[in-house]
Symmetry: C2
Subunit: 380 residues, 2 copies
């Protein structure tokens, strides 16, 4: 371990702010553990290589109490520890220490030298607006459901929704390639149904199939969607990994907007003392992975996110991040038409309104319900 | 929504046992929510299709109190909801409801009709023992570290460890493709160093590089490892997804044992009231994804798993699971040589002993430390 290393680090570092539970001694021990565990994972006293000690070790940049029984530590890491890969960046931010209770990732600050590695969202808010020809109002979205309907029935539903003037018709995230509505048949039928409606309305409604599956299916479904005429794809990084999502976003031959879905990721955000904050998980990391929109459960719906947590996500979708474009927050999860004004109040016009079952609850005429939804938003 | 569906379900169902927090009314509401949220995600009262109501809805099979303020519900789902894909199976088990506090996946029971979809571990315990020519003693493993060493220095470390008689020399999980020790150079040098040692010892020590990266790098690194002569690969499903790991395991051209690493997955297990139990996450799901061994932090090390939680993982690595083979538990995370007897007591001989930094702490002679470790285990 005594040999000197010929590698010359850039000296550039990124910083993670961790919230640590415990008394001061416990919290400080956690901060010191993070510096070692997330990098060398080796008894520090046995490492004599000066490059490693000075550059590879995490470094505590600040440490302070934030509230009773909680401390906040800013810890910096050499950008080279990430290997300039998203997977390994996540691994340094919250890898093995995810296995230790009482540690939460609060904020992540990445220097331009590291951000230049990431292309980020291909379309972002502006690019997606151009594609949809919607200069400034909120985007309207709903999901095809329930699971169990045939592809034909889902396509008929898509036709009615498109007639009603919704912009983005996505698959429910539980629609994969089940025998009731196989993927390829569903995509072909839904695209055709929406195109038929668009010819009648003059709108540019698009279909957003769920392609969340293991590779190579993930990539095959993405390209099938493109070829069939889908207008975007939906991907759940909790199922396929942020890195695979980034790979889709960076593919010049695919070049479709990506809508990120939060399924399976809940355990990272359900405890105030452990995990990753909403803004980092559903904002920053989705942007790094090239998502153009990020779905999350809105406050006051079927889930438990607070208004402040949702505001944090919205803020993170547009926070300055070198050349990486702002993306759309897409609050959903039990929204109803009655809540449209409140949602507009929090998110403003830069939002994808995602209303699922609530769109069916207003009455039996789905076309009329969609028109009412669109009218509500246009009137604001 | 009134049209009848032409799809005919098999009637086969799988069952998930959820632990629910709250009083009886709250827990029952959670159980009912799971039945809907994990399947149709639609207001139940608006669904009139009998096939969907009878087959696609989740069904509460049992509901009972388990301890103060906690209930357990067994909920069954049609096997067709999974689309016979691992990603979608996980999505049904713990997708959107991961976003709701107070729900933990305790157990998962899969019928043979669903298990036949999964090939499972290609080698399992027996196949891996044959490859390594170790009929019955525990397997010995350690990790190359610290991050920051050059590929040359890591290879020299691998040489000493192999001389000392360790069976599996894996990368530390933080070694990716960083500039200090680029992946391909590291693999080539480490394989060569270990082969040199094997010629001296007559052992069959193998190198296990970490290939956790986004596709296509994941697959390129796997095949490079195989071509270069590595004896297994290490994959972190928390970074690349369980589905991608399964894809590697199912690839007949790769055909290397897979060691699963738990990094980033901690948030699923750090709360007793939320997430997924240790046995399901690190046992069952790893086996479904084709891992041949599963690394997890042993009790009493740097992390917080209890002895009971570790025993649960060990049990899940060998529980009956149709044709899917038992795999090795690989407890690590701050193990020391002094704890070898205790580890043997819990896991028996069907275990991969994973000792990292502790192997270096005994003294400066790494070869001797490894020989001592091997001697300890062989003497038991």
């Amino acid at each position: 371990m005594a040999e000197q290393n010929s590698f010359h680090p850039s000296g550039e570092r990124f910083t993670v702010v961790y919230r640590l539970s415990g008394n001061e001694a416990e919290a400080r021990a956690k901060a010191e553990h993070i510096c070692i565990e997330q990098t060398v994972e080796f008894p520090a006293e046995l490492i004599h290589d000066e490059m490693i000690r000075q550059h590879v070790f995490g470094q505590i940049e600040s440490f302070q109490p934030v509230e009773s029984g909680h401390y906040e530590a800013s810890i910096s890491f050499a950008i080279e520890t990430t290997g300039f890969e998203l997977t390994q960046l996540v691994n340094v931010i919250f890898g093995n220490i995810s296995l230790k209770p009482g540690i939460r990732v609060e904020q992540v600050f990445l220097p331009d030298s590291l951000l230049q590695t990431f292309r980020g969202p291909r379309f972002g808010r502006d690019g997606w607006r151009v594609r949809l020809n919607i200069p400034d109002r909120p985007l309207l979205s709903t999901a095809l459901k329930p699971m169990g309907l045939s592809a034909e029935a889902l396509a008929e539903q898509a036709y009615q929704i498109a007639l009603g003037g919704i912009d983005l018709i996505k698959d429910d995230h539980g629609l994969a390639n089940q025998p009731f509505a196989p993927y390829r048949e569903r995509v072909e039928r839904c695209v055709a149904a929406i195109e038929r409606a668009n010819r009648e309305t003059g709108y540019r409604c698009v279909y957003v199939p769920n392609i969340s599956a293991a590779p190579p299916d993930l990539f095959e479904r993405a390209f099938f969607a493109r070829q069939a005429g889908a207008g975007a794809v939906m991907v759940a990084p909790g199922l396929v990994g942020l890195g695979a999502m980034r790979q889709l976003a960076d593919d010049d031959d695919l070049a479709l907007p990506i809508l990120s879905h939060p399924t399976v990721q809940g355990s990272f955000v359900t405890s105030p003392d452990q995990g990753i904050t909403h803004g980092v998980l559903f904002g920053l990391l989705v942007r790094l992975a090239g998502g153009d929109g990020t779905i999350f459960p809105n406050y006051g719906g079927r889930f438990a996110f607070s208004r402040a947590e949702c505001a944090e996500i919205a803020q993170a979708t547009a926070a300055p991040l070198a050349h990486l474009q702002p993306i759309f927050p897409a609050p959903g999860g039990g929204m109803t038409l009655a809540r449209v004004p409140d949602i507009l109040d929090l998110y403003g016009r830069e939002v994808i309104f995602l209303i699922g079952g609530g769109l069916h609850q207003r009455g039996p005429n789905l076309v009329e319900n969609c028109r009412y939804f669109r009218g509500l938003v246009e009137a604001m």
